[in-house]
């Protein structure tokens, strides 16, 4: 019971304490989410009003299809996306995730409900304002790449600027660094047929980034790529995101992909949202049998991070001396203990044997017996990376923050317990 409580506390903290920047963003986020979707409904057909009425009366999708021949694409969609967040819409094909994505920039016109971006009602915007939003605020990346075969790579990347009337020199000057960022520096004069699938999607990404939008709408951008390239692109997207810090709405049908890149995941089924949560929440507390079934085959060690299984750190300070260290170890029943500086930065580890010897020598200083060469995990390190290290090491693994502070420790037993517990939770 105590274990469980602490677990909950850590994961709650985990959301807010990822990095200093996101912590800062969190403060801003509470003022205003980047995207708000309210009661969004899309019904395909020519007599949508009747269908909408029936939907409000609580009829199911199938009943409405039978009675009115109108197809309910999505309904009752409510969520918010925070600035700088990667928000994943996940579901099987036909669950409405692409429709939902297209309702955000109104490539598909929602039947009712609202989409707010920075508090502005996108659903109420006129044609001119909508184009303005598409040009400046939100860009899109497509599953089929949807690049223009009659244009060079550079002209593809600069397309968004071209239609805004930006002069050739300037738009090229702005597109080139973006192409360089996605690793296509030497390809600007090439045409699409010369590029592999992965490279083509880099162009797609560059085209979306050149406009410098706040929001990236990504519709299964990596689904058409082979698995190796897909993984590479996912990593690059994450690396890119840490540089450009966009708000990303990412559609995928691949759970592993969702878990890997999503800050939060919204799981869709038959046109509505079944659960919204962090990858960990979805895995450990599935809201329904459907979600549980969806996630049951996930390799939990890849999703669980060091932060999720670490225990509060027991440590002594560098100036404490071997005697204090020995007493703490005896109290805790452990054979080694981490040593931190005055600022709680991790200095190293001392073993009970060394401390005993030092205290017998009457050496008051811990630094002589300090073992500094130890593995330091980061809070976001996946547990799967830690397992081999823990198996080889005599000592627990220390989890340190960006500033070198000791955040927690992971011992072998607790890691296994954590895996088993979470694994059971998702079954």
């Amino acid at each position: 019971m105590i274990e469980l409580k602490r677990e909950a506390k850590v994961s709650k903290l985990g959301v807010e304490l990822q990095t200093p920047e996101t912590a800062e963003n969190n403060v801003k986020q509470q003022v205003q989410p980047k995207i708000v979707v309210k009661d969004l409904v899309k019904i395909f057909g020519d007599r949508t009003e009747r269908a909408l009425e029936l939907l409000k009366q609580g009829l199911s999708k199938d009943e409405i299809l039978q009675k009115t021949r109108q197809v309910v694409g999505i309904y009752n969609i409510n969520f918010e996306v925070q600035t700088g967040e990667i928000f994943v819409l996940m579901g099987l094909s036909g669950s409405g995730k692409s429709t939902l994505l297209r309702c955000i920039n109104r490539l598909i016109e929602p039947t009712s409900g609202q989409v707010l971006v920075d508090g502005e009602d996108v659903t109420g915007a006129d044609g001119k304002r909508l184009r303005e939003l598409r040009r400046k605020v939100m860009s899109m990346v497509f599953q089929s790449f949807a690049l223009f075969p009659h244009r060079t790579i550079l002209d593809n990347a600069a397309y968004g600027l071209e239609i805004q009337g930006v002069k050739k020199d300037e738009r090229y000057a702005r597109a080139r660094p973006v192409l360089e960022m996605v690793g296509l520096k030497d390809w600007e004069g090439a045409y699409l047929t010369q590029l592999s699938g992965g490279m083509q999607q880099r162009v797609g990404l560059a085209r979306a980034l050149v406009n410098n939008p706040d929001i990236l709408l990504m519709d299964e951008p990596f689904s058409a790529l082979d698995p190796l390239i897909r993984r590479e692109m996912q990593n690059e997207l994450l690396a890119l995101q840490s540089k450009v810090n966009k708000t990303v709405v990412f559609v995928t049908h691949d759970l592993d992909e969702a878990l890997k890149i999503g800050d939060r995941i919204a799981l869709m089924k038959d046109g509505s949202l079944v659960q919204i949560g962090t990858p960990e929440e979805i895995l450990t507390h599935p809201a329904s049998d459907y979600v549980a079934k969806f996630v049951q085959h996930v390799d939990i060690s890849k999703v669980l991070t060091a932060e999720g299984v670490m225990k509060p750190a027991e440590a002594v300070r560098l100036q404490d001396g071997p005697r204090v260290a020995l007493r703490r170890m005896r109290e805790l029943g452990i054979s080694s203990i981490f040593v931190v500086t005055r600022e709680r930065r991790l200095a190293g580890i001392v073993t009970a044997d060394d401390a005993l010897e030092a205290s017998e020598r009457r050496d008051p200083n811990l630094s002589r017996i300090l073992i500094e060469d130890i593995f330091k995990a980061r809070p976001e390190t996946p547990v799967s990376d830690l397992i081999p290290i823990l198996a080889d090491s005599k000592y627990p693994v220390a989890v340190v923050g960006e500033d070198g502070r000791l955040l927690g420790i992971i011992v072998r037993g607790a890691l296994l317990a954590g895996l088993v517990r979470k694994g059971n939770g998702s079954e």
Binding site: L107, E132, S139, F142, P149, H150, Q164, N211
Partner: protein, 279 residues
């Protein structure tokens, strides 16, 4: 045999009615078309024959390739040697003028048809009618409204040559992948930007195929139109038939073939080049 549906009479009545009440309109149209054609023909015949050979050779070289250029030069020199240069200039001026009108009218119609399913559906039977109606039939109302000469000839040529251009423009624009159009929309393109920056460039090979076909049809119609005084190489053929001068008819015929091959290779070459650049 008695016709139960007197369609022939109806058409006669309609044409007479038009003739009576819209003569002023037809006069304006006639003057306009004549003015444009006259200047084009003047322009072409103003150029000395050897210079025209060089100019067309250059166009073929730039637009299509070296072998096309060689054929153009040799073919034109051959025509000059046959002594049909003036007829060739007349035929060329008719085809160029007819193409000008066809492109100016046909391309926008094609674009309109591509954008609207209603227009597409409405145009289809009209285009079928224009294309399948035996071409001689156009000559009759053309004579009645515009008399004899190049103008009625041009009108019947345009009617006959334009349908494939409209059709292929429509088809080419509709063939552009919806994904690309969606992407263009997603980046905030206006409908006109989608048309000019995405659809037309991508449909260009198909539109060029339409122009190529229209040119071939215009050339064949120009021969038939010689019956109403269009003149040109077709006139030589007609003269050969009516006087049973096999030799003269043959010279006219072979000249038309040479002109046709030159025009076809140049326009197809231009089309091929577009394809290569896109690939």
């Amino acid at each position: 045999m008695e016709a139960y549906i007197p369609l022939a009479q109806w058409v006669d009545v309609f044409v007479r009615y038009m003739e009576l009440h819209f003569m002023g309109f037809f006069d304006v149209v006639e003057t306009f078309i004549w003015f444009i054609w006259f200047n084009i023909e003047k322009g072409i015949s103003f150029v000395p024959w050897w210079l025209l050979v060089i100019l067309l050779g250059l166009i073929a070289w730039r637009g299509a390739g070296r072998s096309e250029a060689l054929f153009t030069v040799l073919g034109l020199v051959f025509l000059q040697g046959l002594g049909v240069w003036d007829g060739m200039v007349r035929t060329l001026s008719l085809v160029v003028t007819a193409m000008l009108f066809s492109v100016v009218i046909g391309t926008p119609l094609g674009i309109w048809a591509a954008r609207s399913n209603a227009v597409h559906a409405a145009l289809r039977p009209v285009l079928d009618f224009m294309q399948t109606m035996p071409s001689f039939v156009y000559l009759i109302p053309a004579i009645m409204f515009f008399g004899l000469g190049p103008v009625p000839a041009l009108i019947s040529i345009v009617i006959f040559a334009m349908p494939p251009l409209v059709r292929l423009t429509d088809l080419g624009l509709r063939q552009v992948s919806p994904d690309l159009i969606e992407a263009a929309r997603a980046f905030g393109s206006t409908p006109n930007q989608i048309l000019t920056k995405i659809q037309v460039p991508l449909a260009l090979p198909t539109i060029m195929a339409g122009i190529n076909q229209a040119i071939m049809l215009a050339l064949s119609m120009s021969v038939i139109a010689s019956m109403i005084g269009a003149g040109g190489l077709g006139g030589d053929v007609l003269y050969g038939i009516s006087r049973v001068e096999v030799g003269r008819g043959f010279v006219g015929g072979i000249s038309i073939v040479v002109v046709a091959i030159i025009l076809d290779r140049i326009t197809q070459g231009a089309r091929r080049e577009k394809r290569v650049r896109q690939a």
